[in-house]
Amino acid sequence: MTVLNTQIASTELPASGLAIINSKAPFSSTHGKDALDVALIFGAFEQKVSLFFQGDGVYQLCANQDGRLVSIKDYLKTFSAFEFYDIEDIYVCQQSLANRQLAEDFHIDDVQVLSSIDFGTALNRHQHVLRF
């Protein structure tokens, strides 16, 4: 259990944009794909959107996965298009990786691995949050 996040009001920027928390593993449900569709549409409309991976959601970022082996259209490949949609802030919970014995080996670049406190602080920089 971590200590509570303490925030200092004076250093805060106004919260803006949408944070999407991904909490489900990629293949057995459509949550990951449904979240991706929301992220891409926000990007296409030039609205700020950031992606957060927590719990089993971190499995969506693991390198060397291949959904085609289980007949699933590999939507994870679309993650590499984030930069074209100006989706730049991608955060993953360090504790969730550690709990699952996962290395910081992702199939996309520029993923920021954050402690629980920093993960919470990054979430707080957003005006709205959806979780899938």
Partner: protein, 98 residues
């Protein structure tokens, strides 16, 4: 920046409540609803209450707990849906853990 957390799942069945607690900050509030009410009897709740010592406002929708025959402990406020609406606008944002 304060966040209102809607907790709708039992921590005996899912990690949602634990994930919520890992990003919880001072000034935040929690509302237990639906099967989230079962968390009143979960060890995570005991440790949360000790840890936050009143700095996080913890609520439960009274009818949701009562329907499930769950006793509401004194550290947790029983509230109604109108209070949930009011809390929504007393905080900067809402995260639903379901």
């Amino acid at each position: 920046m304060s966040t209102l957390h809607f907790v709708r799942q039992s921590a005996f069945a899912s990690n949602d409540f634990a994930q919520c607690l890992s990003v919880l900050a001072h000034q935040d509030s929690i509302v237990l609803m639906d099967d989230g009410c079962y968390n009143l009897k979960h060890s995570l709740m005991d440790s949360l209450i000790k840890r936050v010592d009143g700095s996080v406002n913890i609520n439960v929708i009274a009818s949701h707990a009562q329907a499930r025959a769950i006793e509401i402990i004194t550290a947790v406020n029983p509230i109604e849906m109108t209070d949930v609406v009011e809390l929504t606008f007393n905080h900067n944002k809402v995260i639903t853990w379901q």
